[in-house]
Amino acid sequence: MRTSRFARKHRVANTIPTVSMGDIAFLLLIFFMATTIFRLEPGLQVVLPRAETTEDPGRERIARIWIDREGRISINERFVSTSEVEGIIKSSLLEQPGTVVALNADDRAPYGVVADVIEELKDASAALLSFTSDREEPTIERRPTP
């Protein structure tokens, strides 16, 4: 039998080497573990109200205002009075126009304080406000009204 002129001299293994697969997987695992930053929410302890019509504010820049059950207002981990809100929000709007103001108020906060803050936001010419709420599934019963 004559050997062909085009006979293959070397055979190349037709398998993909998977030895380094584990290295790649661990590399990815370590990369994601190292780059994940857990964001702690600085602010007051609030129980957010629940609502069905919530939307994602969809902005990079959000200024957060916290109002707790007692009606205390906090911005940037500092207690502030109602009259200080305008100045703080105004300066953050100057820094980054189009900032959404997220109002993280407690479910049981007195509305009077919230109303005062909204008035301050109007003075600061903040245009977009978001009442931060937990998403509620449509089946959950409403609070009973007396």
Binding site: F32, E52, I62, P110, Y111, K122, S125, T132, P146
Partner: protein
């Protein structure tokens, strides 16, 4: 080993949820805007009282009755404006419940007001 690593990787990728803060959006009217006059017939005033009760046109209603009421009024008058008047001592959560109901009724013209 790589199976295990990928298993962990897939597990964490699947179970990780990003904390998205959602909220009810509201566009505020600035101070510079002149007050607009509206027809009284277009306004439906819903009052949230300090004791947690809800009132409209002088009669008490429950929070769950707000949505059908607004839907019905909206069907008769597409220019309807809901004026949400909340007492200063009322709970914020009650106002959010009402705002949510009004939004669920597809009313887009909402005005907030505070009553003493």
């Amino acid at each position: 080993m790589s199976d295990l690593a990928f298993l962990l990787l897939v597990f964490f990728v699947v179970t990780t949820t990003f904390a998205v803060e959602e909220g009810i959006p509201l566009a505020l009217s600035g101070r510079t805007q002149a007050t607009t006059r509206v027809d009284v017939r277009d306004v439906l005033e819903i009052r949230a009282l300090a004791d947690g009760s809800v009132e409209t046109d002088g009669k008490k209603i429950t929070v769950s009755e707000v949505r059908p009421l607004v839907e019905q009024r909206l069907a008769n008058n597409s220019d309807l404006i809901v004026l949400l008047a909340t007492h200063r001592n009322a709970e914020y959560g009650l106002m959010i419940d009402l705002l949510d109901e009004v939004k669920l009724a597809n009313c887009r013209r909402i005005s907030l007001k505070t009553v003493e």
